[in-house]
Symmetry: C2
Subunit: 154 residues, 2 copies
DNA sequence: AGGCTATCGTTCCAAAATAGAACTGTCAAA
DNA sequence: TTTGACAGTTCTATTTTGGAACGATAGCCT
């Protein structure tokens, strides 16, 4: 597989995987959602090598997930801030956190709890149908080929 | 980072990433949700090397995402079927597909359309709060430390 | 001025993961 | 008896990561 052109495949999952489909990228995004913005911040909390961190941040900027914003002239320093495109990854991250809570937890309970400021309660993320509002399950979904594809790829 | 113990970290995202945090695994899961079950099926549709496919399938079985079910004696042949734990990954996959649809699409439109059998309509997956049912956005969520952790990790 | 610290990277080499292709083994059908 | 389908394993070359050191810029302290 040519990972460098994965983002041009006729499959939205492939295209997403091209951007966020590796361990470090996902962990970097977690930190971003927890308001980490600076090189040293990512590096020290993740214990990622500086080399890879540099690489991944560049990639995320290139794909428009993070914006590189100067916060100091002299010396030139930048922070990495989620764009709207990056913020839109939230459901993916939350879905992963929730699955981990349910299926990979230990006896001590959840590492983090989430409070919905709007309603004030602790919640779980639930994925629903945009049309009827019902919770979604794999077996209730039927897949059709859409306009953006020719043949037997997903 | 010690990837082999990532699933024991005090962070549900890390634990999920330990299982599905690589390109091939996510693509294999896509095929699983599209009802692919056999070694040759995965191999030919993904163009993954047989070696890696074998490795990844073993890992997914080990983590209880797939079950290895015999479908033929003599010769012994197995298929790989999603367990409930695996089916529960659906929101993650759908969230990724949806993000790809929105942010990585091209002029031709979506590769696939999804129909909700329950209501009969084409839909998008939406992540909502389990308590109030409102759509979730990153900025409306506040994070608290939960019982399963000691200090400053997510 | 000289040296320490903070921040943001780059460079270099060794170790690990992946790609690519060939090979093994079982059995059915031609 | 040969071919083909299926489910892997084994082997080597290439690519990606890990780990640690190095470089650049500037503020602050003495």
């Amino acid at each position: 597989m040519k990972w460098d052109t994965l983002d041009e495949e006729q499959c939205s999952l492939s295209r997403t995987v091209a951007v966020v489909g590796d361990r470090w990228t996902l962990l970097i995004l977690r930190e971003s959602f927890l308001r980490v913005r600076r090189f040293e911040g990512f590096q020290s909390s993740l214990q990622i090598t500086r080399h890879l961190l540099s690489e991944r941040l560049k990639k995320l900027v290139r794909f428009g997930i993070l914006r590189r914003v100067p916060y100091s002239e002299a010396p030139k320093r930048y922070e990495y801030i989620l764009t709207q495109k990056g913020l839109d990854l939230y459901p993916i991250i939350m879905a992963m956190v929730h699955w981990g809570d349910i299926h990979m937890g230990d006896e001590r309970g959840r590492p983090l709890l989430h409070e919905h400021k709007t309603c004030g309660k602790r919640f779980d993320p639930v994925m629903v149908c945009s049309e009827c509002g019902e919770a979604l399950h794999a077996k209730q979904v039927h897949v059709h080929p859409g306009p953006g594809r020719k043949e037997a790829v997903a």
